[in-house]
Amino acid sequence: MAGVNRLPRGGRIDRAKPVSISFNGQTLSGYAGDTVASLLLANGIHLVGRSFKYHRPRGILSHGSDEPNALLSIDRGPGKIDPNNRATVAEARGGLVTASQNHWPSLNFDVGAINDRLSPIFVAGFYYKTFMWPRRFWDRVYEPNIRAAAGLGKSPDGPDADRYGNRHAHCDVLVVGAGPAGLAAALAASEGGKRIILADEQAEFGGSLLHDVTSTVDGTAAQDWAAQAIAMLKARENVTLLTRTTAFGYYNHNHVAMAERITDHLENAPDHLPRERLWQVRAGAVILATGSHERPLVFADNDRPGIMLAESIRAFVNRYAVAPGRRIVIATSGASAYRAAADAHAAGLAVTVVDIRLEADCGPEVAFVRQKGIDVLTSHTVIAATGRKRVTGLIVAPLGSEGRVGARRTLAADCVGMSGGWTPSVHLFSQSRGKLRFDDAIDAFVPGQSVQAERSAGAARGSYDLADCIADGFAAGDPLTARPRLAATPSLTGFQPVRILPTDADATRVRAFVDFQNDVTAKDIGLAVREGFESVEHVKRYTTTGMATDQGKTSNMNALGLMAGIQGKALPAVGTTTFRPPYTPVTFGTLVGPAKNALFDPARITPIHGWAKEHGAEFENVGLWKRAWYFPQGRETMHEAVARECKAVREGVGIFDASTLGKIEVVGPDAAEFMNRIYINAWTKLKPGACRYGLMLKEDGFIMDDGVVARLAEDRFHVTTTTGGAARVLQHMEDYLQTEWPDLRVFLTSITEQYAVIALQGPKAREVIAPLVSDIDLSGEAFPHMTVRTGFICGVPTRLFRVSFTGELGFEINVPSDHGRAVWEAIYERGRAFGITPYGTETMHVLRAERGFIIVGQETDGTVTPDDVGLGGMIAKAKPDFVGKRSLARPDIVAAGRKQLIGLVTDDPSLVLDEGAQIIDDRHRPVPIKALGHVTSSYWSAACGRSIALALVAGGRERMGETLYVTTPDSFAAARVTAPVFFDEKGARVHA
């Protein structure tokens, strides 16, 4: 038998399949079907961790996802280590290496436990009060030390070796939770053929029935009823069943996110399976059958290992066939714990019940267990637990009239089950923005007004009786059909809420824990309220109660009740904190899914990308595009490569991949009118075959985008945009076309991806392409600068633009994308005799800056008008209207002193200014000095033999010849204001 505390019979474990795991280096055995927690308990291990703040020994509190204490590091192999796994959720399987957390040097002997002795110091708000002075200690001493001491587990430092999946799903009804209510709901909802998804966080469906060995439903054992229900659901094609799947987030419009754990429980997981999968479900209706959480009792040292929730004892005994102790004391303020007492007793364990309630207030449960020979002490309080690393007993005392505490006595125990009543799990309901209602009868918040198409059922709605749960599930699943109520064994329900157990001990010395995970005691809550924290949200943050991985599932109601008691308010007046996703911790891997590394973002590549790569290009990201940045040869630096590429274009010929330019075809009888309204330029008189540089504004008058536009025919324009602006411009055009001018007969088509664009620039460009081009007269007279011709290049149809962004004679050769690389290679081959040089975006930037051509987004920033960059002359003043025209007459835009584009040449010609550097007019002014503007572009210019810069400066055009000062990393540099053009000032070279 695996484990000294394994019961000889029963449980849902598979005794034919032994498994062994490692815990802190020790090999322990159990069975398939065990959780790590049940396996540890079977081997007599209760001490599984140290608490967050005081490093107190901690054990296993619960048997499910609400576990605050038993958090382990789990190692499943290289790159597969996770901290803070709940031992009560992690399934035991061979090869699992687990370890406890938050102790040094060992779990058994932890130096940090000194904090427990110093606990009077570490009260709520300790950090806020203590680490204030001196100021210079904040980041040098306090923060590093606090960070080192904080946290429970260690985060892994290597990359995650696992794969994660992602799935979107739609259904008519999503049922969350497959306990009795959820099973009933799924059965009823799926009868008519609707698409149903039933999801449950556990390895098996059944919920609380998995540890209910005594109830019957409809005349059969409850577990058999559940098995039949599951079999029926499995047989229905319209039902999707998901085990090990936690619905953790309930978002707008019935969008529910779920995490499915697929391989963690498999010793030899097939390679094709992801570790976990994120489900994003859009449901017509959602049924929340999420059950309820048991509340601990608050008494001195209630956190000792061996003290757990009463229902958890029942689960360990019945479901896992584990005796969590041999001498069990159940401390309770309600009836349900009597079932745990009876079940433990039936398994042969010694049991005593201590009930805080008066005998008269108790129900039939007392007689029920007394009949079996179990001792019940009613009207008794628990003063404290004894023992340190394992509970050894409970000190109890009778309660007299008016709460007087009588003579103490100690009950020996190696395990204590506590029950302070139940709290419906309303997390998802609350996330759906539903309004909670406080139900006095069960001392709990329950779902009130729904906001989305959702309904809670069963214990999640405060209905704790088994037959009620099933009936509620049927009604939730199919509200239109009345189903006969199934008879079931009456559940033992009802409890008296007790916020803190009465005691005669010195209140200042009592360490009664409310929140186990954050080491928050009842005293801390009291202190926070005394210090003036009234709002529940403030008390939560000040004391940290209800925070961290368990989100206060077990602790919240006790904390709220204590607050209400101290403030003398009714509990609903205190309210509750906001429930936020995720319901339980979700791995980052699940959220990220496959979207990492190469799949993080799509990469857009041009038809010439492969060639550039083969020829050693360095790339830069422009939006999603990968653009060739420069082409280093040998051991060239970027600076050297760019200087060489610039020289080649100015003196010979360079070839550049401009395929990323945005391209839009504007077609239709009203195309010219549309263009007139969208651009500042006039288009009516532009002849087919001619090009024009176009500038586009937003309605506020600021530059939005620019690019060369070719008129191919009366009714057809080939528009180019900036690389980054393509989508934005199309959207902008569509917006005006659809919403402001729907009467215009125009079609807009993105052709960005349809054309590869090869820019051939330099004095020898014409010679290079001459023999390759057919049906186009390339002579300067027939094909002047800023015109477009259609014909063929290398036999491929082309839209051949004679345009230049470099200031040299140049062509932009548009060919269908599929032919892009072949044409590029043909031109390159032909150009070799002329020293053709591929160049990248950096060289393109330098060449255009030498000529003073702006780049939208570099010289402009959304506050720059055409006149600011010296392009006011392009505005077609005769046009009655275009987008942005009216705004150009706004007072601020016609005011003097606007920032204008100028050139800057530094006194030191070798100094290249920083782009973005601030500019002032007098470096001796006292600080703070108001900046006049900033450097927008700055490069080393090989053609000029010095550095050059463009800048936006207030009143810049009035400052020609002035010396201004530009910030450098350590000082200022003097620079002279010039016109924003540094090379070929007349612009003659393009006409060569």
């Binding site: 707008n252 419009h253 969008h255 923005r433 506020d700 917006d735 209207d881 009216r886 705004s887 007459a889």
Partner: protein, 94 residues
């Protein structure tokens, strides 16, 4: 994630859409006739009600069409969507 009713395609997830801000703000037929105050009002002033709000939406990753929709800003519930040029269907419109 919201489900947004495109009048052409039906309900689609929010990811497919782009919001264009408040609807029914008319661009003057002759902007040059509008004074500075009214023009800046047109450019920059938008309502921010708690409750029903008419917005422009573009089904950018779908049919690419613009339409208007009434959304409750408090609950994010979409009351109705309608094609460009159609009248706001509910009373209480600006």
């Amino acid at each position: 994630m919201l489900l947004i009713p495109c009048p052409y395609c039906g309900e689609r997830p929010e990811l497919e859409f782009r919001c264009g801000g408040e609807a029914h703000i008319a661009r003057a037929a002759d902007p040059s006739a509008v004074d500075d105050g009214a023009w800046s009002e047109f450019l920059f002033s938008r309502g921010n009600p708690k409750g029903l709000y008419a917005e422009r939406w573009n089904h950018a990753h779908g049919c690419q069409r613009w339409f208007n929709a009434i959304r409750d800003t408090a609950s994010d519930r979409f009351v109705e969507s309608y094609k460009m040029g159609e009248k706001r269907p509910l009373p209480g419109g600006e």
